[in-house]
């Protein structure tokens, strides 16, 4: 792989998103020639912050056509930049916008795109990625033929590496194609990324039949609140009407892979397991020492969750406040 690695730095308001900065940090660890790319309108301030996270250079295209978070004008900008710099790779942190941009760019340049990447490294001078497949039951090693290598990195895979420093900013001017600018943003979303849905949450606290009663979910909500996470459920409790179907994780519900999955009163039957087995760290609290969940959890507590959970939530809050 020759040429710089470009990292698409998405922004929201004046802030660069954590995802893009995380990918930036990873790119810097792989190559000495890394540049961030910030595309928008009135983004100079945001762009300047990239230096603090490892970028030595940031390309900025500041243009009204890029004011709204629409993908197609960004394809024009990145395509121009790739041509200008001879970039060897363009990396993105996965998001609704980034996926559209990366895919459009792949078609524009006839360049390979690998997505849902959970790992990246350089092997024998070649960029190689790893990604889970088939419901996280298989790990696939993927690569690119020709260049540039386009990669979408799974949300939350890499953490930003703040290090101080500043980046040289280079302005980019782009001419946009007609169809790229045909879409009009009539009303832009402006919520803060609020209480995460279970598919996006980094932390999930899930409750099962072992909670004993629907009121048991108050424990889950309390712990989730203390961790900044979302609450999920199992088929058994949804069947019993204790919690909504939209929170059901499992074979007939959703598949999730947060960094931390805490299972309260869940036996770990395979119908549930297949929906969460890709989670980074699995913690289980159950009073049955033989519950199958203890076979695949990383940390398990055999005990009464009504005792353990309030204590844990309290300890977490105490730590946060101190």
């Amino acid at each position: 792989m020759t040429g710089p690695i470009l990292v698409f730095l998405e922004h929201h308001g004046d802030e660069l998103t954590k995802g893009g900065l995380g990918v930036l940090g990873k790119a810097v660890s792989l190559s000495g020639d890394v540049a961030g790319v910030v595309l928008g309108s009135g983004v100079q301030a945001a762009a300047a912050k990239a230096g603090a996270f490892g970028a030595t250079k940031v390309y900025v295209c500041d243009d009204p056509a890029l004011a709204a978070p629409l993908p197609q004008p960004r394809v024009d900008a990145l395509a121009a930049l790739v041509e200008q710099t001879g970039a060897g790779a363009v990396l993105f942190a996965s998001s609704v916008l980034a996926a559209d941009v990366a895919a459009g760019l792949a078609a524009r340049l006839d360049a390979g795109l690998n997505w849902d990447l959970a790992g990246l490294e350089v092997k024998d001078g070649r960029l190689v990625g790893t990604r889970p497949a088939l419901g996280d039951s298989v790990l696939v090693e993927v690569a690119w033929k020709g260049g540039p290598c386009l990669g979408l990195v799974r949300s939350g895979t890499f953490d930003p590496q703040p290090g101080g420093g500043s980046a040289a900013v280079e302005e980019l001017s782009v001419s946009f194609r007609d169809f790229s600018t045909a879409a009009r943003m009539l009303d832009q979303a402006h919520e803060q990324a609020s209480g995460p849905s279970i598919e996006e949450a980094d932390v999930i606290v899930a409750g099962g039949r072992g909670l004993g009663a629907p009121e048991g979910f108050a424990l889950c909500e309390d712990l989730a609140g203390a961790l900044g996470g979302a609450v999920a459920s199992t088929r058994a409790v949804v069947d019993a009407g204790w919690y909504p179907y939209s929170t059901q994780v499992g074979q007939t519900g959703k598949t999730v892979a947060p960094k931390l999955y805490i299972a309260l009163g869940i036996s770990g039957a395979i119908q549930h397991k297949v929906g969460m087995q890709g989670s980074g760290t699995i913690v289980a609290i159950n009073k049955d020492p033989n519950a199958p969940i203890f076979d695949f959890a990383d940390f398990g507590i055999v005990g009464d969750l009504h005792q353990v959970v309030p204590k844990l939530a309290e300890l977490l809050r105490a730590r946060r406040d101190s």
Binding site: D239, Y245, T252, A269, I270, P292, D295
Partner: protein
């Protein structure tokens, strides 16, 4: 205790599954011959009809745009098919005479030898195969795979196959069967209509064939409605099987008797196991036990797991991996439980649903195919000019062909064999041998059976001996349900009719009996009764609950297991 499951009948209104056509003419669907059930019997019937219609264009035209339609409740033909199976090829050869040979039909090859073992906990005593178990010339098949093949053949001959379609009610008016009403789709747990609710439709036909297999939903309704029940109540066995990838090929078929079943008459444990090679690298193994057993803790799924811990089976499965699991009841009443007639005005009964299974030889697939073929021929005769399929006795020739042909003869010869085992293993075995040698002329009296649900129950602590699942050799029920491919939609009405407040023994009986962990013993009431907890989405539609006092009805089309190798 003299608790009996039959004392707690399921909430089913009489005649609930029979109704008159109600859709206005422009909404009802018309086909020529309607076949309910995409299994060997139904598909053989469709294939034979297709063959006959090729030679009878006048009739083909009379049958309209869709001359033959097959309704299948599973995702596709084969999804709900499960059996051992060692199949006698004669019915397939007859069905495909002049068109295909056995080479063209997917099987796992001919049987190359067989061994029968009498097991104890620690040993396996090889015994000569009883005369009923001679399988030379027979083929090992996956009936699910065979079903997919037969479906392709039927479609090639013009049959319309409608998967994920449930026949919910039998349409009867003017004393004859007009067709079926299909089930609704898109209802929620409380029966409410969801956003994509699609009501069922009336499908009307000149002749309706019920080939629903074991516990046929509409077959039961038809037997009631037309007074067709045989002299003895129908009884069932439950079979639970697994398919394993194995390290060392198996070259002969194996049957076992004895352990882990108990021999004394009071337990009434009748059955055994089978292990059949599927090519060089797979085996099919299963356990079959009668649902007239009396111990509330008897679980056929767990008996299968226990069986695998025997030295003989451990060796066979060493280094292997389970790749499929499934369960299904087998119709066991034999000759005495056959319906009085296999037809009624506008209606024909075929296959296992009509009771055509030979338990002592473990054969039924070729009877199903043969009956389907004979049914097709009788139907075509009934549609000729001058004839009508809606008169009483329209299918008398089909009855005659079944009873006087090899199907009927086989069943008559073994008609008392199953019931002989009421006397326990040894007396039963002796009686059975005598019956075989005399080709059924001995004994000269008829042995009678009681309905499965009428058996008195007892408890012996049997469950303590079931092995704890280790996830490699032995498995729990829930992971087995997962291995069946079952992904039934949760938010739909329960399809299981069963009394929810029952004595603890009955709840336990059902909970152990069910191979799919559908029933659990719930809260204790003060009156010695408990609440039965039901998780219908686990159900693999084996039918055991119908045999034992409840009533399985078909859930929404497409629900249930997705068998491919069973």
């Amino acid at each position: 205790m003299s608790v009996r499951a039959a004392d707690y009948p399921p909430p089913v209104a009489p005649g609930e599954f029979v109704t008159a056509p109600s859709d206005p003419p422009e909404e009802r669907i018309e086909v020529g011959v309607l076949i309910v059930g995409g299994g060997p019997a139904g598909l053989a019937c469709a294939i034979r009809l297709g063959q006959l219609l090729e030679e009878d264009p006048a009739l083909a035209e009379k049958l309209g745009d869709v001359p033959v339609a097959v309704l299948e409740k599973g995702k596709q033909p084969g999804s709900h098919l499960l059996s051992g199976a060692v199949v006698n090829p004669r019915a397939l050869r007859t069905l495909f005479k002049g068109r295909l040979s056995m080479q063209d039909i997917p099987t796992y090859g001919e049987v190359h030898g067989e061994a029968v073992y009498l097991l104890t906990r620690g040993a396996a005593l090889r015994i000569p195969p009883p005369p009923t178990m001679r399988n030379h010339g027979n083929h090992v098949v996956s009936v699910s795979q065979l079903g997919r093949f037969l479906a392709e053949q039927a479609e090639a001959l013009g049959t319309a196959i409608l998967p994920e379609t449930v026949a919910q009610q039998l349409l009867v008016a003017d004393g004859r069967v007009h067709g079926v009403r299909t089930g609704d789709r898109g209802r929620g747990r409380e029966g409410q209509q969801l956003g994509n609710f699609e009501p069922g439709s009336d499908i009307v036909a000149k002749v309706t064939v019920l080939a629903e297999g074991t516990q046929g939903h509409l077959t039961g309704a038809a037997l009631d409605r037309f007074g067709l029940h045989g002299p003895q109540p129908q009884i069932w066995e439950l079979g639970v099987k697994e398919v394993w990838k194995v390290a060392k090929p198996l070259h002969h078929i194996v049957h076992t008797m004895g352990w882990p079943l108990r021999k004394r008459a009071k337990y009434r444990e009748f059955g055994g196991s089978f292990v059949y090679p599927m090519g060089e690298d797979m085996v099919s193994l299963g356990f079959v036990a009668g649902l007239d057993s009396r111990d509330v803790e008897l679980s056929v799924h767990d008996l299968l797991q226990e069986l695998k811990t025997h030295r003989l089976l451990r060796k066979l499965l060493a280094g292997g991996e389970r790749v499929a699991w499934g369960a299904k009841t087998i119709t066991g009443g034999g000759y005495h439980s056959l319906p009085r007639s296999f037809g009624a005005p506008g209606l024909v009964l075929a296959g296992e649903g009509a009771g055509l299974v030979n338990i002592p030889t473990l054969k039924g697939v070729h009877y199903a195919i043969e009956s389907g073929r004979l049914a097709a021929e009788a139907i075509v005769r009934s549609l000729q000019p001058g004839e009508t399929p809606t008169r009483v006795g329209a299918f008398a020739s089909y009855d005659e062909a079944l009873r006087s042909g090899h199907v009927g003869k086989d069943l008559w010869a073994v008609r008392n064999m199953r019931n002989a085992f009421d006397r326990g293993f040894f007396v039963g075995g002796a009686l059975a041998s005598a019956m075989t040698v005399t080709k059924g002329r001995f004994p000269p009296f008829e042995l009678h059976a009681e309905a499965n649900a009428a058996q008195p129950l007892l408890r012996t602590g049997r469950a303590k001996r079931y092995p704890a699942p280790d996830g490699k050799l032995t498995f729990d029920k829930l992971s087995s349900v997962f291995a069946s491919g079952n992904r039934t939609r949760d938010d739909q009405p329960s399809h299981i009719r069963v009394e929810r407040r029952v004595p603890r023994e009955v709840a336990e009986l059902w909970s152990r009996m069910c191979p799919a962990h559908v029933y659990e013993v719930g809260e204790d009431g003060d009156d010695g009764f408990v609440t039965l907890e039901v998780t219908p989405s686990n159900c693999v539609q084996c039918g055991a609950i119908t045999a034992r006092g409840g009533r399985l009805t078909p859930p929404e089309g497409g629900s249930g297991p997705e068998y491919t190798l069973t």
